[in-house]
Amino acid sequence: MADIKIGAYICKGCGLQDRLDISQLEMTATRDGKAVFAKTHDMLCSQEGVDMIKADLQGGDDAAANRVMIAACSRRAKVEAFAFGNTPTIRANLREGVIWVRPDEDEHKETTQEMADDYIRMGCAEAKAQEPAEASAEQQLDKHILVVGGGYTGLTAAIEAEAAGYPVTIVEKAAQLGGMTAQLYKKIPSCSPYADPQDTGIDAMIKSVEDNANITVHLNSTLTRTSGAPGRFAADISTESGSTTTENFGAIVQASGQKLYDPSGLSQYAYSGNADVITNLEMEALAKAADGGPIKRPSDGKEVKSVAFVQNVGQCSDEEDQLSYHSGWGDVVAIKQAMYFKDLNGSDCDTTIMFDNLRTPGAGGEDFYRSGQRKGITFTKADITEVIAGNELEVKFKDQILDNDTSMQCDLVVLDVGTLPNSGPDPYAPAAEEDEVVVNVDSILNLDYRQGTDLPHLKHGFTDSHFICFPYETRRTGIYAAGPVRRPMDLAQARDDAAGAAMKAIQEAENAGKGMAAHPRVGDLSFPSFRKEGCTQCKRCTVECPFGAINEDEEGYPVYNESRCRRCGTCMGACPVRVISFKNYSVETVGQQIKNVDVPDEFDEKPRILVLACENDAYPALDMAAMNGTEITPWARVIPVRCLGSISLSWVTDSMNNGYDGVVLMGCRRDDDYQCHFVKGSAMAAERMSKVGDTLSTLNLEPERVVIHEVAITDIQRAPQLINDMAETVDKIGMSPFKF
């Protein structure tokens, strides 16, 4: 390998020249930072400046430089200009990080210059500690997509992925394709006009799948083992009869669907034992059975003349054993089913929908509501008290508009029950209490992963991510949930969702093929590796990886499964013996920055405060504060980190040992509504840091020297304040005695 040759490039633009001693910075870069040269430019981001850097990188091993240290603006600015392929490129933030946060006054010149000099030293140290990232040998392109579940969502995902040129295998547990949709008489309209129930189209979909040579279907089959990683998944597909085939896949779409809530336990609806009180799904069967003629009621075959739709049964409820959420489609489905009666039993058939808040959103929803009214469906805002069984059923309710208790008679009652996801067991389900009744759920994927067999649940058993902006994120890379297993949804939404999940699956198959990370670090070729001789097989990394990427070998050493890794560095932060690293991010890349900050001795009265800031939220917040000209103490040295979860405790203890006076950690929110895109990083850092106080005590240091804060990207006033607060704390408790 070629020697490390750091080219230091110092920009003089944007006022840097006016505020800083550029020649001193050059000297710092070469003398302290060991850069092979330092060059300056009036406007480094200009074509000329960029070309200058590029020229230095030409020539392979003989190139003038093979590491680039750019001292200019924030790493968030001019990213496109300063892109030099695989060459490690470090940004020392002199604009947003120094001159914009310090007053332009002579008395501050010295400390401002010190800040800038330190960032140059840190930049060079980081450049030195980085290696060019290269894809691992593990990479493999496999365009084959596995779709688990052959219902509407699974079929759509298969058809859509195949249409993009990717072969698909569908594994379906049942003896036929079509899932719950095949049980429907008709569907809610999914295209204009949103006026009448529409054909589900499921038969045509099944046929197109069966006729497609690039789509393989396994019926009566389940996955008995899924191992590997994106690009090299191996799935054992087993039939009921016991035969098993193993196939390889690039990525997986899990479309395992939903089941509906069982209202048997809710005595007020008289569902149990009364054939004429049925669920919305049973209503579909009834309509199907009518075969185009009038719908007859189950008990005696009498043609239905009046029907009540009781909405929100066992859902939107605070009661135990009921669903606290809503299906989203319950009211639209009731309108559709009431239309069945208007269409099949005649417009004289009385149909009443007893709703609470009528949820018919969007353009199609509201159109369909109006169409239902036009057809003569009666809508009553009602609080249902009970359903009384009998030859003629009675529904007792409070009319919320007329504010009175009343009742209606009808031939049939249809209960709007909600949906539950068909997800596998949650790998992170809390251990059951001793006397708790545990319902065992069959695994869907049977993942051969250290952290459980299936996709983690978020809430209520749904396997979605927690991210509004990135709905397809799951905590198992390359496995994308689609359809009502992910969140409650109707067919139109499932259609889009299946396409979206298929998109993510083919994307991940492609990126895994190139050895690139998945979201949110697409393009990153680095991957974690560990020094085996140092590893104590403590298993913290394998347990704490938020994506379940790491398995253990027979001796208990970690097995990284690179393409399952999201490059957050949580394993790095977990490792007590510091053996895990990425080529472009490691204990060293940050540790060396910390070590290379110049810590003045105690009598200079210039404290040093280390700020480790989440690169996605706290760091941009500081940048924006800088744009506002908000002052930050000149003692602060800010280092962006991928995630607070990647913070090695050694960075904190080393900085203390090196004489820093305070450490401020800034991560994102960590409660139930956590925001970390690496899931638990911030929470884990908080837990790990909770023990740091003990360490400080053993060093005879005050615990308040190390603080951890939740900082949001909008905290543009608060983030600088938190740093300045530490300066005040240091002022109060005094300088660290650990300065040399």
Partner: protein, 208 residues
């Protein structure tokens, strides 16, 4: 209960909404109401109403036939059309209110002493005599609607306005003697009779 009313009750049994749809002007719109209440809030006389239009629509759906037809609510409408202008569903609310009032009257269920109902009757009686409204007679019959002494009182109260109108020739005392009418009075009566027949047939024949 009038005979017609009894027949309608029998015909529509529990389904008042259908009765309204079939027999009340613009009644087929009632089902389109989504209970937002903007008509009720927009009505300038809303606070004088026993039931607002939105509530009446709900009562119709709930089958509260007596309560709706006995109500004086729809008699309060002054045809300002605010409700129609505001209704997000485009319901011709003013027309439905008049339609319901008219239907209640036909069924003999309109409140007996309701002033606008009484005035409406006076207006009708006055109009059908000659095909034109005799304003003087209409005014006087309105004043005496609630008895002789009330009539005298109201007349005295209004005398300045009356005299003023006479002076500016906005009213002729000669109208008292019969007043003017349409040219073809017989034709007019024939037309009314035919209209009544059609209306009767529509109502009684709606389920034939």
């Amino acid at each position: 209960m009038t005979e017609l009313n009894a027949a309608m009750v029998e015909r529509y049994r529990s389904n008042f909404l259908k009765e309204v749809e079939a027999n009340v002007e613009e009644g087929e719109w009632v089902k389109m109401c989504m209970q937002c209440g903007v008509c009720a809030g927009s009505c300038p006389l809303g606070n004088a109403w026993e039931h607002t239009p939105q509530k009446i629509f709900m009562m119709v759906r709930a089958g509260e036939r007596e309560a709706v037809l006995n109500s004086d609510a729809m008699w309060m409408c002054t045809s300002c059309y605010n409700c129609i202008a505001r209704c997000p569903r485009g319901l011709p609310i003013t027309h439905i209110m008049h339609g319901l009032a008219h239907y209640a009257k036909r069924m003999g269920l309109a409140p007996k002493e309701q002033p606008t109902a009484k005035f409406a009757q006076l207006f009708w009686d006055n109009l059908v005599k000659k095909g034109r409204v005799n304003e003087l007679k209409l005014g006087i019959s309105l004043y005496f609607m609630n008895g002789f002494s009330e009539g005298i009182k109201t007349s005295l109260k209004m005398k300045d306005i009356g005299l003023g109108m006479l002076k500016t020739k906005r009213m002729s005392p000669m109208e008292m003697l019969g007043g003017h009418g349409v040219k073809d009075s017989a034709g007019f009566q024939k037309m009314l009779k035919k209209a009544q027949e059609l209306e009767d047939k529509r109502i009684s024949g709606s389920t034939d």
